[in-house]
């Protein structure tokens, strides 16, 4: 860093420059034209919606992914990292949202994995290692015993340990992926103090956050990404938060959603004062028959956790959940199912399907009690039922006996839906119903949800896709940090109003 002249960051050559970077995962295009320049002594914010490609970009910087196209340059020289070790050697330290420490090793050991100081006979010199670790932690202004195991540390302290590790590496580039998501106000202030002093010592900082107050407090420059591509880069003092939010969403409600107008019926689901320590707090809402209610918000706002607590997969600490006026016991999915609730989970491969079982078995799983005679499943009834529902959802598969794993993502999702629709639910909860499926199937899923609502099913939908939320929902509940930050009617809900609530900027709007 000492080599660069002090003529302001604009004049100096960037430490890191990414141009035209593209990356695909199968059919999904995560990055198409990403650009980014990081300068010494400058904190740079990277903002964008969920799925804009920020995390992929970071993983390319970290050496975890290799770009399909485009160039990554360090100090003007093109590089192609073959692994995390090479990125580290180039001076890039990445701190992930979830710290990746070794709980069984001590704090000092975590700082020096693979680089422990050696003493006599080439053995690790623990005293020297602890001394150096203590010096590093002291430089960061934290009091931590270097010899205690990292296992019991708070998330905030774990992040400090990771930053200390980055300093121990002499990192010139510090990348932080939503480091404040799990921190309290005091902890955030302490973290920022540390990051500012590193920045002022000449490190380049890349800061990813959904919280604009933090971005403004820490960063000099801000890059907006959307749909895997670069949108704009500005000096922080030359743009407003409103402009940034507009660029983040920046789309027209182009796609048509087959949303039918339905006069809502009686209340089906009533949630009051739902809380779970550390997850969500005092969540209350209702869903009426024929209504589609969307839970919107950023990843990690607690949306999935709320619907899981409603369905009983996770117990709730306090609060009541009533379906058709009857209170559901906490932590009992069976009771929820008996009351007519169905949950299509977020991760269909992990939670929604038994991938090794046949399409037929999967489609009839929740109905097997009613399809059996004297406790034995009769093949005929099972096959008829499965064939009927998969046909109604126009699912494409080879044979009913093929394992579910052989289907495409969209068709797997249809099997999960068929499974629950066959049970004739009163309330259908769908968590990210169209994640990772192609456009045509998406539209079919949307049509199906709309039809179900028209038939009087109450639908609670968690979605990170703004267009889906705006196109499908009668009402939008926006969650932020485990609470409901606001409720918007179909008329009030726009990309901006939802994003502003989700990021906590409603006062500024």
């Amino acid at each position: 860093m000492g080599a660069t002249e002090q003529t302001g960051p604009e004049a100096a050559r960037p430490i890191v420059a990414l141009t035209g970077v593209a990356k695909r995962f199968g059919a999904v295009r995560a990055l198409s034209d990403a650009r980014l320049e990081l300068h010494a002594g400058e904190a740079h914010a990277l903002v964008g919606e969920n799925g804009a490609g920020k995390s992929t970009l970071i993983k390319i910087l970290a050496g975890l992914y290799r770009p399909d196209a485009g160039s990554v340059e360090i100090d003007g020289r093109p590089v192609a990292f073959a692994g995390t070790a090479e990125a580290k050697a180039a001076g890039i330290a990445v701190i992930y949202q979830e710290p990746a420490l070794f709980g069984d090793l001590t704090v000092a050991e975590n700082l020096f994995v693979g680089r422990q100081p050696k003493g006599r006979f080439g053995l690790i010199d623990r005293a020297e290692m602890n001394r150096r670790a203590a010096a590093l932690l002291e430089r960061l202004g934290v009091r931590l015993d270097p010899d205690r195991p990292a296992g019991g540390l708070s998330i905030a302290d774990q992040q400090i340990v990771e930053i200390a590790g980055a300093i121990a590496l002499d990192a010139r580039v510090l990348v932080m992926d939503e480091p404040t998501a799990a921190l309290s106000g005091v902890e955030v202030e302490r973290l920022f103090g540390v990051v500012r002093s590193l920045r002022d010592d000449g490190a380049a900082v890349l800061f990813i956050s959904h919280r604009f107050d933090e971005v403004e407090a820490l960063c000099q420059r801000v890059t907006v990404m959307r749909d895997g591509a670069h949108v704009s880069t500005d000096r922080m003092d030359e743009v407003t938060v409103e402009q940034l939010v507009r660029r983040m969403v920046g789309r027209e409600l182009g796609a048509m959603f087959p949303k039918r107008e339905v006069e809502p019926g009686e209340t089906v689901l009533e949630v009051e004062g739902l809380s779970r320590a550390g997850i969500c707090r005092d969540v209350g809402f209702t869903v009426r028959a024929g209504e589609i209610v969307a839970l919107a918000g950023l990843v990690g706002a607690g949306r999935s956790e709320v619907v899981q607590a409603v369905f009983g997969i996770e117990p709730r600490d306090t609060g009541t959940v009533r379906v058709d006026g009857r209170t559901l016991p906490s932590g009992s999915p069976r009771a929820a199912m008996r009351a007519g609730v169905a949950l299509v989970p977020e991760d269909r491969r992990l939670q929604g399907l038994l991938l090794d079982l046949s399409v037929m078995r999967n489609a009839t799983l929740v109905r097997r009690g009613r399809l059996s005679r004297f406790g034995f499943l009769t093949g005929g009834a099972e096959r008829r039922e499965a064939a009927e529902w998969t046909a109604r959802l126009s699912t494409k598969y080879g044979r009913l006996t093929d394992p579910a794993a052989t289907l495409s993502g969209g068709n797997q999702q249809k099997v999960v839906l068929a499974k629950w629709l066959a049970a004739n639910p009163r309330l259908l909860i769908v968590d990210e119903p169209t994640r990772g499926i192609d456009v045509a199937t998406k539209a079919e899923v949307h049509r199906l949800l709309s039809e179900l609502a028209a038939d009087g099913v109450a639908i609670l939908m968690v979605s990170s896709e703004l267009l889906e939320v705006l196109g499908m929902a009668d009402r939008v509940l926006v969650m932020r940090e485990g609470r409901i930050a606001g409720e918007l009617s179909r008329a009030e809900a726009t990309e901006e109003s939802v994003m502003l609530l989700a990021t906590g900027q409603e006062a500024a709007a």
Binding site: A62, L101, I124, S184, V186, G278
Partner: protein, 345 residues
């Protein structure tokens, strides 16, 4: 920022937070020593001859091979692995080195090296299947358990090596002692110390802990998982091979069933010794003490006139107690993390 008002300063206070449970864990080795002492004292009170030279020597002979294999097993278990093939590898090494000695009369040192080499080869096969084949260690080594045992039967073909065929010096080495301590036990002890230094004092050793503690994190910080896993399985296999030579030297008569079922005793010793079966924590000293404790139980219960059935049940209870302790600590740590890590509580 609402949490700011509700939680003034917990995050910044960074005490070491030791509790009774932490202490119990940290001094697990001490607990094992106390258990050993109590058991020995109680048994000696019933029958003073339990502490006689002959009796103690018998126990050390019995413990020597388990201690040796437990040292190797510890290294593997620390990485979240397991090696079920050690009993078979011991059998193969025992039979082959005994045959070598009976036919050529090679010196003891050569036999030891041959045993190590045979074991290392088996360990390399295990490591390769696990790392390159991405086969879970439990399944991979269950497979090699049978394959290697099959090799022993093939090599032995129903015959066996008798003590009378083996060189005098080899048998003396297997049954001799210095100041009452068997050579075999001394070898195991030396190996245990060497493995302890390797695990605690070298980068490779600490990498093994890191791999077991957080495999994904290890990848992120650039730990070379393949090389390290290979080291662990080769070391474990080599020690099982060495164990085979010691077995042959001790018993003189070797047939194809040598070491049959030994893997379970070794895993039991490691678990009782406080090595977490999910990897990342534990010491080879603990595993050695676990092996010693099992050997002492085996010798003490007959003296105390306790039924054979109870002997098995007590070992089982010890294993469950050890795992329950680990689980308890894990739960507690998770709870503490949730409490500290949350920001809306």
């Amino acid at each position: 920022m609402t949490a700011l008002l509700k939680r003034p300063s917990r995050g910044t206070a960074a005490g070491t937070g030791s509790t009774a449970l932490d202490l119990a864990l940290r001094f697990r080795a001490l607990g094992l020593l106390i258990a050993l002492a109590v058991l020995v004292a109680a048994t000696a009170a019933v029958n003073p001859r339990f502490l006689g030279l002959q009796s103690v020597q018998d126990m050390l002979f019995a413990a020597a091979i388990t201690v040796l294999l437990a040292s190797g097993m510890t290294v593997v278990v620390l990485t979240r692995g397991i090696d079920l093939s050690v009993g078979s590898v011991l059998g193969l090494s025992a039979y082959l080195t005994a045959s070598l000695l009976s036919e050529t009369g090679a010196p003891v040192v050569l036999a030891l090296l041959a045993g190590l080499a045979i074991g290392a080869a088996c360990g390399a096969a295990n490591g390769a299947i696990i790392h390159f084949g991405k086969v879970p260690p439990l399944v991979a080594t269950l497979g090699t358990l049978y394959i290697v045992r099959g090799l022993v039967y093939f090599a032995a073909g129903g015959s066996r090596v008798n003590a009378s065929d083996l060189p005098r010096g080899f048998l003396d080495f297997g049954n001799g002692s210095v100041l009452g301590v068997p050579y075999l036990f001394l070898i195991s002890l030396a190996v245990l110390v060497a493995v302890a230094v390797f695990l605690a004092g070298t980068r490779a050793g600490r990498d093994l802990y890191a791999l077991g503690s957080n495999p994904e994190g290890a990848r992120l910080v650039g730990v070379r998982a393949g090389r390290r896993l290979m080291t662990a399985y080769v070391l474990c296999g080599a020690l099982a091979g060495l164990g085979g030579v010691l077995h042959a030297a001790r018993f003189g008569t070797v047939d194809a069933s040598a070491g049959h079922g030994l893997e379970l005793t070794v895993v039991a010793a490691v678990v009782v010794g406080g090595v977490a079966i999910f990897g990342g924590s534990g010491t080879v000293l603990g595993a050695g003490l676990g092996a010693l404790l099992l050997a002492v139980i085996n010798n003490a219960l007959p003296v105390l006139r306790i039924d054979q059935f109870w002997q098995q049940a007590i070992v089982g209870a010890l294993i469950l107690a050890a795992i329950a302790l680990d689980r308890l600590v894990g739960l507690r740590a998770a709870r503490a993390l949730r409490r500290k890590g949350s920001h809306v509580d």
